[in-house]
Structure formats: structure tokens, C-alpha cells
Amino acid sequence: MLTQRLLTSDKGGMLVLGLIALTCILVPILNLAVPESSPFHVSTFAVTLLGKFLCYALLALALDLIWGYAGILSLGHGAFFALGGYAMGMYLMRQIGDRGKYGDPLLPDFMVFLNWQELPWYWHGFDMFWFAALMIVLVPGILAWVFGWLAFRSRVTGVYFAIITQALTYALMLAFFRNEMGFGGNNGLTDFKDILGFSITADSTRIGLFLASGIALMLAYLACRYIVTSRAGKVIVSIRDAESRTRFSGYQVESYKLWLFVFSAVLAGIAGALYVPQVGIINPGEFSPLNSIELVVWVATGGRGTLYGAIVGAFSVNYGKTVFTTFYPEAWLFPLGLLFVLVTLVLPKGLVGLIGRFKKSKSTSKQEEQP
């Protein structure tokens, strides 16, 4: 019953899930079991790269949930991502212990050379993973709740909402740049040693993180499916299409938006937390409004309003980016910029929509395809 509702009703989603599952099985084997020499070996570089993409995909999923379904465009989702990342980063910093440059058992290096005498209060507890994990969920969640409560209650919507979310992430970026904040200023948090006792550079750890990201993504996908296929999901869609009608049908639109926004923020936070140990650094740059806009573009490219579209988008754009920055280092911004324009102009439904169109034209030619 539930599986029917979550899965078989959307083929594309199942396909994407299947692929992710497949990579989660194949990649570790190809990376660990298969010898370097063999052409089928997947290098650690590819693993970390894929791991990064998985986190991005999770982030895109989170945005698609509120933008694609509730029509709320947040240009500040990078902020939740970064906050989750910082929470994880703080845990990793505490794990370094006295292996820092200055060998201070308690203080991270950047605090030592800024003459901090003792650990700021908000750093306490992050030496315990469960606490960090809790914060990864709570901090973005609470911020989203407060912000959303203010915004939705006063019916800030559409463009205005987009712009103030942008202001939010911008303000956070400036704030985190300040060294007084105690988050390492511009350099952020880096030089991590190990996570949960495993060396962060060990291939096995990387695989572990990779798997964690993959599983997180799949679970998140199912969770999102559950929401959008529930009655609440229909309400959310109807809010997107005819907000006041929904109101007059007796729904408190604000609370729906709010809870969805919070959930999405939490997903973003988790994505950030998984991202940091794999790239090995978190710094205020992650708050930059540009990142958030780019994120929107991933979703738009993949196809907003279809959850798996977001995943497809995140993968394709970032893969393209990796390739371009390697092969056309001077000019890669041109294709990227062009992509944004073209997607909005000719692919309002994104790549997924394109495939759909292609499928339809095929199916109309072959009638028996019809279910």
C-alpha cells in the first residue's frame, strides 16, 4: 500500500533511486576490491567527487520540496547547508584534540593564535557526536522555524521572500567572516583528523561517508515522497496554485508552509553535515548568495516539481562543472551562464521534462505503450 504510493507510482523516481542504490553497491566494490590497475577501478577521487554530488543532490531535493511543490523560492538555502556543515565542522575540530599545530588539548588552532583563553560557550558539547548530530538538525531547523514563522505570518511571498532569504544568507556570511565570531573567520574550519575515531583520509572512511550520503539521500527521497503523496502534499500543491482558495477551503496556509520549510531546512543541514567531512573544509564562502542561486539553477535544470528531477539536476550540472573547469578553465562560465538562460527559456520543466516530452512523442507513435 505505502510502497505502492511511494514508489511504483513514479517511475522516474524509482529509476533514480535504483541508480543511487546501484552506485552505492558498485562504487565501494570497485574502489576497495578491484585493483588500481584494472580499468574498472574507481579511484578515491571519483568516490569523494560522487560523495560530494550526493550531498548536493540532497540539498537540491530539499529546495525542490519547497520551491517545486509549495512554490516558495528560498535564495538562502545555502545558509542551512552551511550551518549544518559548521555544526559537523565543530565536531571534527574538537576531534583533533591536541594534535593541532600548537598542541592545545582544548582550543582549535585558530583560537590559540587569536589568544582565546577558553572555549566559547557555544563550542561546548561538540566533542560528543550525538550532540553535534542533534545540532545539525536543530540549528537549521530552529533558524528556519523562526525565520519562516515571521515571514509566512506576515504573508511575505514570492519575490520578497526570495530577496529576504538572500539577505539572510548574506548577513550570515558577513557575520561568519568576522574572526570575533569564533568560527575561524575567513579560513573557516579545516585540517580535520578523524570522525568517530576513523581517520578521515582512510579510503574506508571515505567509502563510509559516501555510503552515508547515498543512504541519507535515498531516505530523504522517500520521506519527501511520503509528504508530497500525502493529503498534506496535495494541500501544499494547491497552496502553490491557488493560495487564497486553499485558505477559503479552511486550511491554515502558514503552518503548512512553515513545517515544510523547516523540514527542508533540516534536510539541507544534514546535506551540509555530510558534505564537510568529504571536502575537508567549511568556511563562510558556503553562505555566499551565489551558491544558493546556483542551487536553484540545479533544481531548475533537473526539473522543479519532480523530486527526482532535482537529483538529476544536481548531478548533471555539477558533473558538467567538474568537466568544464578541467577542460575549458578559461571559458567555462560561458556555457554555465548560457545553461541558466536556456533552461529558463526553453526547458521550464527541466531535463526531466525534456525526457518526458521525448517519451510522450514516442508513446503517441506507439499506442500499445499506454498503460
Binding site: L73, F147, L150, A151, R153, S154, R155, V156, G158, V159, Y160, A162, I163, I164, Q166, A167, L168, Y170, A171, L174, A175, F177, R178, S244, P289, L290, I293, V296, V297, A300, E330, A331, L333, F334, L336, G337, L338, L339, F340, V341, V343, T344, L345, P348
Partner: protein
């Protein structure tokens, strides 16, 4: 407009006219005193070199040629010697040296020339024009700070008797900052007798008093302290402070303290004025960068993420103009403004026709598309102009500051940009309110189908409106080029602030934009001193976010049922 102007690089009167008498009688006196004093001064200054050189002073031309060669310290001595000759061209040569327009040929014997324009030279010694072609590569005669301040001092002493009162005033002030000694007192008192301008006289009094603060005679010191009450020269304040802290005579200490207090109370007032001006100036920058958006975003509902890049284009246009007319730097801006308007405007129209026209009513899509465009424009700037910043030079009249008094001055570029910002604003207001385009724009923005029905070519109006907004962005770019870097990243720095300004002011309301820009500027400037630049900005953003919660439609919302849904 030369009224009380201090230039960053010291300005005497223009090099090509030497001392002019204002009346024969004073002239004679002046000449006498000047010779006397300069000889004296030069003697004192040049004691070491005086011995080094032959008793018979080398004549002016030789000295000038000596400038070309030898170490910096030797050059210093030569400079003093030149001043001592009191030759009529001495001042011109020294000024040229100071301003870096004194060059020497590589050929032997080296000729020393003054570059009067691009590739036009005159002989430094006698001012005869020389043919630039057969000079070969010339090389600027370098000087360093010590030498610079030395020359300034010398020039100041010469300028004490210049024709222009302002020049004399600067000269006295220069002496004050150099520190006044016994001989200068004598000279100043002498000159003051027949000084025409009261400002200069007051300055001279202050200078004398300043020197007298160190005198051994209590009476003199006391009077000096009195005299200096309310004088705003920083040096004076410093000196008084010293006296007030550790003078032997308690009465003098008290007097000095009183003078200090009177000075400080004045200073406080001026600081307030200064802060307000700073705020307004920042506001004007915000206004300029936001006002284009107020049209494209406010009136047309297009979120133009490429707005910043349109400013960038305007700034680059300024640079191109300056490259095209290297000799017209003074007027370059007046050429750049219309040029930038047209260029950015056309680019804007291209964007509108090419992309935005397909996206009306989908503001969020315009955001994505224009963001892509902004990336492309940035990279284009990198490919065309290289990623390096471009040097846009300030015209003379843009640099320097309007000196209201030694403690309070308003920088010209800021002042002009403030005025310019307001001009643009009101011009735009007029266009929207008075012209038929404006009428059509408002019609289309309020009710597209209706406007069509009454025969407005909506698409044409859209293009024009967007072009207008973009053009204004270009103009803003010209202004920015006078304040900050001209490079591919120029636009990035301003885009978010501009959106904040528009939203805060209330979309679709130009007056709102003006008010919000100015108030944000002033608030920011009053926060900075205690919050620090970064925190001030963060606080403002937070305030903005909270404000929008309270009044989602900004300061001056569009009212009525139309706005309701």
C-alpha cells in the same frame, strides 16, 4: 570655484606665471623680505652643502642640470640651492619636480626638461620649448617623501607672497604643519602688516602664536594660548595639549585648557556634520546603484540579477572613453555619462528582447535567466579587458576636498556624486511623471492587457523601460568608477544592497527608493563607529529582514486592491 581648495598634491599657482605684483610699493617690500628670508632660510637649511660647494654659488642652470644626476640626498641639497638662488623659474622647476613632470634625457650631456603635456617639453632652466622627437627616451627624475616635504616647505615660503590669497593661505598652513621657527615668526609678522585677506592674517596669527607657545617668556605663552582659542589646526590642538599637560605656569596651563575646550566643542559639532555627510554620501551611492533597479524591478517586476554587470559596463565605458581621449581627462566624465547610458541601455534592451520578454509574469524565472546573463557578462569582461582592474583616473576637479575649515572638509568626488545622484533621481522622476513614455510605462506596469487595448505597444514600452533602467545603471557605473575598482567583479559588490534598498523603500515607488537609500546610508554611518564596518552591515541586514516582516510592502507600499492580490 577655486575658493578654498586644498589639493592632495600641493598646488601653488600655475607654473607658467611667476610672482605678480599686486602693487608696486608692497612689491618692493615683499621682494626685499622674501630675498632676505629665503637667503636666510636657505643658508640655515644648506649649512652642510654650503661648505661642500664652492663659495661662489653655481648659477641656476647648472643647479637644474645637477638635479638629473646623483643620489637622493645630493638632490636634496641641490633643491635647497635652487631655492636659494631665488631665480624666477626656481618655483616652476621645483613644482615640476614635485609633481613628477621633471624629466631628463638619457643622452649626454643630460638635458633637464619639464613635460608640459604628452610629448611636449620645455627646457627646465629657461622654459624654451624643445622638439620632443630628437630627445630619445626621457626618464622621470625620482624623488622620495623627505624630498617632497622639503620642496613643499620651500615652495610654501615662496608662495607666502603669491598673488592669490588662497595660495598664500595654503602657504601659511603648510608652514604651520611644518612647524614654525623663530625666523618664520619674524617674516610672518612682517608680511602680516600688509596682508590684505583677513583669513590669511588669522592663519598668520595662529602660526605665530603656535610658535610662541614654546617661547620662554610666560607672558608670550599666555597670550599665545589665548590667541589660539578656537583655532582648528590639528597642530595647534596637539601643541596646546602639551602645554596644558606640562607647562610650568598653572595659569598658562589653565588658559591652554580653556582654549582646548573651546576647540573640542567646535570639533564635536563638525564631527556630527561630517558623519551626516558621510551617511548621505554612502546613501547617494546606494541610490545610484538601486535606482535603475527601482525601474526594472519596481515598475516592471523583473528581478534583474545582471543589474550589477550593467553598472560594470558603464564603468568600463568610462575607462574606454579615457583611453580614447587621453588628453581630455578633465571632461572625460561628461562624455562618459551619455556614452555609458547608451551602451548599458542598448545591452539592457538586448537582454530584454533576447530573454526577458519571454518571461513576463514569472519574476523568479527572470531571476535565474538574468543571473546566467550576469555570469556571461562577467566572464566577457574578463576575456575582453582581462581580469585585472582598469585604472580610471579622477579629473582634477573630482579630487581634493572643499575645505570649510581645517577641521571640516568635504571631499569633492563624494560631494559631486551626491549631487549627481539627486540629479539622476529627479530626472528619472520627471521622465516617469511628465513624458508620454513615462505614462505608457505606468500604464503597462499597472494593467498590461488594458494598456494594449488602448493601443500602447506594450512590447516596445517594455524594451524602452528596461533600456532606461539599464542606462541608469550604466550612469551609476560612471559614478562608481570614481570611487572604486573598475573590474569584472564590480557589479557583484552592489547587487544585493541595491535590492535591499528597493524592497525597503517599497517596490514601484521612486521616492521610497530615495528615502530608503539615504536613511540606510546615514544609519550605517552612525552605527559604524561603535559597531565596526562588518557588524554595522550585518545589523542593518537583520533590521531590514525584521522590517519587511512588519511592513512586507516596504516603506511606501502601493496601496489599493490592485496591490492586495
Amino acid at each position: 570655484m577655486r575658493g578654498g581648495i586644498s589639493r592632495p598634491n600641493f598646488q601653488g599657482e600655475s607654473p607658467d606665471h611667476p610672482l605678480k605684483p599686486d602693487s608696486d610699493t608692497t612689491m618692493a617690500l615683499l621682494k626685499k623680505s622674501v630675498c632676505l628670508w629665503i637667503a636666510l632660510g636657505a643658508f640655515l637649511l644648506t649649512l652642510p652643502s654650503a661648505y661642500a660647494q664652492s663659495p661662489a654659488e653655481p648659477d641656476f642652470p647648472t643647479l637644474v642640470d645637477e638635479l638629473a644626476s646623483g643620489s637622493l640626498s645630493k638632490r636634496g641639497k641641490t633643491v635647497e640651492a635652487i631655492a636659494a638662488t631665488n631665480h624666477e623659474r626656481a618655483q616652476t622647476v621645483l613644482k615640476a619636480l614635485l609633481e613628477g613632470s621633471l624629466e631628463s634625457t638619457r643622452s649626454d650631456p643630460r638635458q633637464v626638461l619639464i613635460e608640459t603635456g604628452t610629448d611636449t617639453y620645455v627646457l627646465a632652466a629657461n622654459g624654451e620649448a624643445v622638439n620632443a622627437d630628437n630627445l630619445g627616451r626621457t626618464k622621470r627624475i625620482p624623488i622620495h617623501n623627505k624630498l617632497r616635504s622639503q620642496i613643499k616647505t620651500l615652495l610654501a615660503q615662496m608662495n607666502l607672497s603669491a598673488a592669490d590669497a588662497d595660495v598664500r593661505l595654503r602657504a601659511v598652513e603648510q608652514m604651520i604643519s611644518d612647524g614654525v621657527d623663530g625666523d618664520s615668526i619674524a617674516l610672518l609678522q612682517q608680511l602680516k602688516a600688509d596682508e590684505s585677506s583677513s583669513d590669511v592674517q588669522d592663519a598668520m596669527d595662529d602660526a605665530v602664536a603656535l610658535a610662541q607657545l614654546e617661547s620662554s617668556d610666560n607672558e608670550t605663552r599666555l597670550n599665545a594660548a589665548k590667541q589660539l582659542r578656537g583655532s582648528l589646526y590639528p597642530e595647534v590642538r596637539g601643541a596646546l595639549q602639551i602645554v596644558a599637560d606640562n607647562d610650568s605656569e598653572s595659569s598658562i596651563r589653565a588658559e591652554a585648557q580653556r582654549s582646548l575646550d573651546s576647540i573640542d566643542s567646535k570639533l564635536k559639532m563638525f564631527r556630527l556634520g561630517e558623519n551626516i555627510f558621510f551617511g548621505l554620501s554612502l546613501g547617494s551611492v546606494l541610490l545610484l546603484s538601486a535606482i535603475g533597479l527601482a525601474i526594472t524591478f519596481g515598475v516592471m517586476g523583473v528581478i534583474n540579477m545582471a543589474h550589477g554587470e550593467l553598472m560594470m559596463i558603464g564603468a568600463y565605458t568610462t575607462w574606454v572613453i579615457q583611453q580614447a581621449f587621453p588628453n581630455q581627462i578633465e571632461y572625460s566624465l561628461f562624455m562618459a555619462i551619455p556614452a555609458a547610458f547608451v551602451v548599458s541601455g542598448l545591452v539592457g534592451i538586448a537582454i530584454e528582447r533576447g530573454v526577458i520578454q519571454f518571461l513576463y509574469g514569472r519574476p523568479l524565472e527572470t531571476l535565474l535567466a538574468t543571473f546566467g546573463i550576469s555570469l556571461i557578462l562577467q566572464q566577457a569582461a574578463r576575456s575582453i579587458f582581462s581580469p585585472l582592474n582598469r585604472a580610471v583616473s579622477l579629473p582634477e576637479w573630482m579630487s581634493g576636498s572643499l575645505q570649510i575649515n581645517p577641521a571640516f572638509s568635504i571631499t569633492f568626488n563624494r560631494l559631486y556624486i551626491l549631487l549627481f545622484g539627486l540629479m539622476v533621481f529627479f530626472a528619472l522622476l520627471a521622465v516617469l511623471k511628465k513624458t508620454s513614455l513615462g505614462l505608457k510605462v505606468r500604464a503597462v506596469s499597472q494593467n498590461r492587457p488594458m494598456a494594449r487595448a488602448v493601443g500602447v505597444r506594450a512590447s516596445w514600452v517594455d524594451a524602452m523601460t528596461f533600456g532606461l533602467g539599464s542606462g541608469v545603471a550604466g550612469i551609476a557605473g560612471v559614478a562608481l568608477s570614481q570611487l572604486t575598482n573598475v573590474g569584472p567583479n564590480l557589479g557583484q559588490a552592489y547587487i544585493i544592497d541595491s535590492f535591499m534598498v528597493v524592497v525597503f523603500g517599497g517596490v514601484g515607488n521612486l521616492w521610497g527608493t530615495l528615502v530608503s537609500a539615504m536613511s540606510l546610508g546615514v544609519i550605517n554611518k552612525f552605527m559604524e563607529p561603535f559597531a565596526g564596518a562588518v557588524l554595522a552591515k550585518v545589523l542593518i541586514l537583520v533590521l531590514l529582514i525584521l522590517f519587511i516582516q512588519k511592513k512586507p510592502k516596504g516603506l511606501f507600499p502601493q496601496k489599493g486592491r490592485a496591490a492586495a492580490d
